[in-house]
């Protein structure tokens, strides 16, 4: 089911014309499979091209929107973007509270927008969603994991942060420590797998339905896909905020 996006052929043909074929022979098989997963045919695999396209869209769209910023007479785009920012701020203040929205708005907003736009790519037949491959979602989950642990370590100091995992009672500490550490690492797995399976399953199911009956039947599935796109971005940032609030929690009794 190797359905490639519309940019896969042109970009790779251009790169092969410019740089020659990928040097697959000079690397060990594992390294070659890591860097050039499509073998000698492609320099850049499809999800990477789609991610670069998302970056390009952001790099073009947001500076243009910011240039048209007007305090007295906001246009439609500015209103919409202000709504999005206000929504993320209210989510952060609900989940984390007291002043968190200033600190965390940048990274949480980035996660939300990137995941949303990447998921929406899955609704177009000529594009592939970058979050529909395990690489992107595991990368996002790892970033979130490193980020919330770093926030917890910055807030509490390394020793006290690790002491968090000991649990409430001292004589159960070894057992609790193991369970808490495994649960902490399982967050990477759950974040990445949830996003990946939702988007990949949605994209594959829509593809199958569109192959069977292209005219009207895919529309409910695509509406579901749009809902899933919004929902999965929302869930990812909500869970990340919950994890960071748990990591930086001060138990004041």
């Amino acid at each position: 089911m190797e359905h490639h996006s519309i940019l896969y052929e042109p970009v790779n043909r251009l790169l092969i014309a410019l740089l020659g074929e990928p040097p697959v022979e000079r690397l060990s098989p594992g390294t070659a499979a890591f860097f050039f997963p499509d073998g000698k045919g492609a320099w850049i695999p499809d999800p990477a091209i789609m991610t670069l396209l998302v970056l390009l869209i952001f790099a073009l769209f947001f500076p243009l929107a910011a240039r048209r910023y007007s305090r007295e007479k906001p246009g439609a785009v500015q209103n919409f973007l202000e709504m999005v920012v206000a929504g993320i701020r209210s989510l952060l203040s609900d989940v984390i509270g007291h002043g968190a929205e200033k600190k965390y708005l940048n990274i949480i907003g980035t996660f939300a927008l990137f995941i949303f736009v990447s998921n929406v790519f899955g609704l177009f037949f000529f594009l592939q969603p970058p979050t529909g491959v395990l690489s992107t979602t595991v990368a996002l989950a790892l970033l979130s994991f490193i980020w919330f642990n770093a926030q917890g370590i910055r807030e509490h100091g390394l020793i006290k942060y690790l002491a968090h995992f000991m649990g409430p009672v001292l004589w159960l500490a070894p057992l609790f420590f193991i369970i808490e550490i495994i649960g902490n690492f399982a967050r990477i797995l759950s974040l990445s797998l949830r996003l990946f399976m939702n988007i990949y399953g949605e994209h594959t199911a829509t593809g199958i339905f569109a192959g069977l009956a292209p005219i009207v039947v895919p529309w409910p599935l695509m509406a579901l896909g749009l809902f899933t796109a919004v929902l999965q971005a929302f869930i990812f940032v909500t869970l990340s905020s919950v994890y960071v609030s748990l990591a930086t929690a001060h138990e004041e009794y």
Binding site: I179, I182, M197, I235
Partner: protein
């Protein structure tokens, strides 16, 4: 606690199923001997049970949400947010089962 147990089991099962991806070349001979595709049967049953359990959980969550909003319409916003998050988390457990079904369906 239950969710952590489920997650740990998923991790263990996923790691146990990983060699299946590498061993696909030799494993192709095993089911052909008796002709029974245990992988496909297992995947089908797994997904049926997972979807049933997920549907029961999500039905309870939705009905509790409807009750809550009908008792206290002012809290509709907060209840709606919590319901959506809860439904997505239940759904993610069903999706872990779908992933395992993908991994074992060829065996």
């Amino acid at each position: 606690m239950l969710k952590k147990t489920v997650l740990m089991t998923m991790v263990l099962v996923a790691f146990a199923a990983m060699p299946a991806l590498g061993a696909q070349a030799e494993a192709g001979a095993a089911p052909a001997a008796s002709g029974v595709k245990w992988g496909a049967i297992g995947a089908a049953f797994l997904l049926g049970i997972a979807a049933a359990a997920g549907a029961i959980g999500q039905g309870r969550a939705t009905s509790a949400a409807a009750d809550g909003i009908s008792r206290n319409p002012g809290a509709a916003g907060a209840i709606r947010t919590m319901t959506i998050i809860g439904l997505a988390l239940i759904e993610s457990l069903v999706l872990y089962a779908l992933l395992i079904a993908f991994l074992i369906r060829g065996l």
